[in-house]
Symmetry: C2
Amino acid sequence: MRAAVFNAPGEIDVEERPRPEIEAPTDAIVRVTHTAICGSDLWFYRGDSDRDAGSPVGHEPMGIVEAVGDDVTSVEPGDRVLAPFAISCGECEFCRKGLHTSCENGDSWGGDNGGGQGEYVRSTHADGTLVRVPDRHADDEDTLRSLLPLTDVMGTGHHAAVSAGVEVGSTVAVIGDGAVGLCGVLAARRLGAERIIAVGHHEDRLELAEEFGATETVSERGEAAVERIRELTYGGPNHVMECVGAASAMNTAIDAVRPGGTIGYVGVPYGVEDEGLDVFGMFGQNVTLAGGVAPVRAYAEELMADVLQGTLDPAPIFTETVGLDDVAEGYRMMDEREAIKVLVKPHGDA
Amino acid sequence: MRAAVFNAPGEIDVEERPRPEIEAPTDAIVRVTHTAICGSDLWFYRGDSDRDAGSPVGHEPMGIVEAVGDDVTSVEPGDRVLAPFAISCGECEFCRKGLHTSCENGDSWGGDNGGGQGEYVRSTHADGTLVRVPDRHADDEDTLRSLLPLTDVMGTGHHAAVSAGVEVGSTVAVIGDGAVGLCGVLAARRLGAERIIAVGHHEDRLELAEEFGATETVSERGEAAVERIRELTYGGPNHVMECVGAASAMNTAIDAVRPGGTIGYVGVPYGVEDEGLDVFGMFGQNVTLAGGVAPVRAYAEELMADVLQGTLDPAPIFTETVGLDDVAEGYRMMDEREAIKVLVKPHGDA
C-alpha cells in the first residue's frame, strides 16, 4: 500500500509499505477514506520533536472496515468507522472511566499498524477503538467531513471546555485560533457558554471563530491580550481554555483567568522547560489547572449524535483537501498557515 | 508594646514598638493571648525569602478585643477572637465566594498593624477578618489551643483536602508530615476518607499522623516513596494532598497520583524555578492541579463548630509553648525540627 512517511524535518514522502493484515483476533483492517494532518504533526515536521525517519505518519483515520479478527464484535467488514488518535481497549479501569488515553493496553498509530495518512491501517483493540458511523450516514460526504474531526481536534476542543468547567451561562476565553481552539469555541457554545472570547492572531480564523459562536474576539498579544480579556470580563473569565500548547499561551491563561478560576489545557505546553510556568501566579489566586491529552474516544458518541442531528459541524476547519500524492503540500500549507487543517483522501475520491 | 521582629536570617528579637491604635472605623485592636510560629516563617528565618529587617513577624493571632472602630458590628471589646493569616473585607466578590485570600481589599499582618507575634495587633476590616469564639468557650485554655490552628494550618490542611476532592470513601495520600500535613490528615478523616496514607520522614510525626487518622504511613523518599504509594493503592491514589510546598514534593505527588486524579496543593512550590514541575507527566495522565494559598477565613466557622463539639482537635501539633521572651528559641526549635509547631503566648499566661 502507499503511505505518507516522515523522512526528515520538512520531508514527508509517499512510500510503498506492507499492507497491514489481521495479526490478533481483536484487530480490524480499515481502508482509510478520509484522514487529516494535525497541528501536532508539525512538531516533527518542524524538527521540534524527534521521530524515527521512515515512520508512517498520521493518527486521524476514518474509513471502511475491510476485515476483522475473530473476537471483534462491534464492527464488521463494510462498516464506516472513525478512530481516535489513541488506540484503547475499552475494557480497563481507565477506559471505563472515560480516560482512554491512559488505557492500560493502549497503543498509538504510526508503527507497523500503519500511520493514519496511508491507504490502510490495522486497528488493534478494534472493539475499544473504532467508532461505527450509522449506515444511513455512512456514505454522505458532507457528513463524513463533519465527523472526521471527532478523531482528534473536535474531541480535544471539547475536552478543553469540559476540563475548564464550561457550562450553561459560563463566560470563557479560548486561547488559540487553530483547529483545536476553533473546535473549542464550538464545544463551549454546545455546552451553553454565554460569552465566548476567542483569542488569536489570524483575522480569518477569528472570523471563523465568530461563525462558530465566539461572542467577542481578542487579537492583541501578550500583556495587551491579557489586559483586553480582563477588561472584557471585568477582571478575568472564570474559565479559560488553553488550546495552543505552548508555555507562553499557558501563562497568558494564568494571567487572564479570574481568581479561583479554572484553566482547561489540552496541548503539551512546549517551551515550559525554558520559559517556565507561572506556578506562583496560580498559587496566589487559587487557579485550577485541569485537562491533558484528550480522551477523544470518550466523547465520540455524544459528539457524533450532535453532528448527525445537524447541531454541530466542525467541517469548516478543513480549508484544504488533498490526495495522498499531495500530502507533502498539505504539510507545507499547514506549516505556513495557509490552511487551518488539511483533509487527506488516501484513495482520492474513491 | 513588645513584639517579635525579624532583623536578619536566624535573628528574631523582641523589641519595643508603638502599640497599634484604631485608625479607621473598621479597625479593631486585639490583645494577643495566643499565637504561633508557622512553617512559612522559616522561609525568611532561613534566608530563603526576603523580608525587611525590623519588620514585626507572625500571622496567626488569637486574643481579646480591646477596642473597635465605629463601624465594627460583629465583635466588641472583651470578645475572644482569632484571625486568619490573611486580612479580608468579607464583602467583595471573592470574599463572598469563599476566596478570602483574593480579597479586593485584603491585607496581611506584619506592617504597622503589628505582627501576630506581639502583644497587640490592629485588624483592619475587623468584621470581615475576626472570628468570634462563643463566650462559653472563650476562656477554656484547652479549647483555645485547639482553635488556634484555625488561624492557618488547620484551614490550610482542610483546603488541601477540599482542593484534592477528598470525600466520603476516598483514598488519599498526604505528602508531608509537618503541621499542615498533619492537619491535612485530620481534614481528610473529617471529610470521610476511607484510606489516608501519610507520607513523611519523621517517625514521631508519622505516629501523630496515625493518631490523627492516617491508616497507613510511608517513610521512603523520592522514587521509593512513589513506588510504595502506588503499591499500596494498586496504581496510585485518586487524591493527593501536597502539604510540603516544594517542587520535589509536588513532583512526588504527580508521579504517585492515579491517572485522572487530582492534586490539592497549599504550599508555595519552592524550588520550582530550578527543578521544574513535571507538567508533561500531568498532561499525559490528565492530572488536575487544584488549590493554592488557603482561604482559611472561609473555613473558620465549620471547623470551629467541630472543634467546639469535640470531633476535631489539632492541638497536638503544638509540641512546645513559649512566652514572648523565648520566641527566638521557638524559631530555633522549629528550624531544627525539635518542635512540630510552637505556640507563643505574648503575655505569658495572662
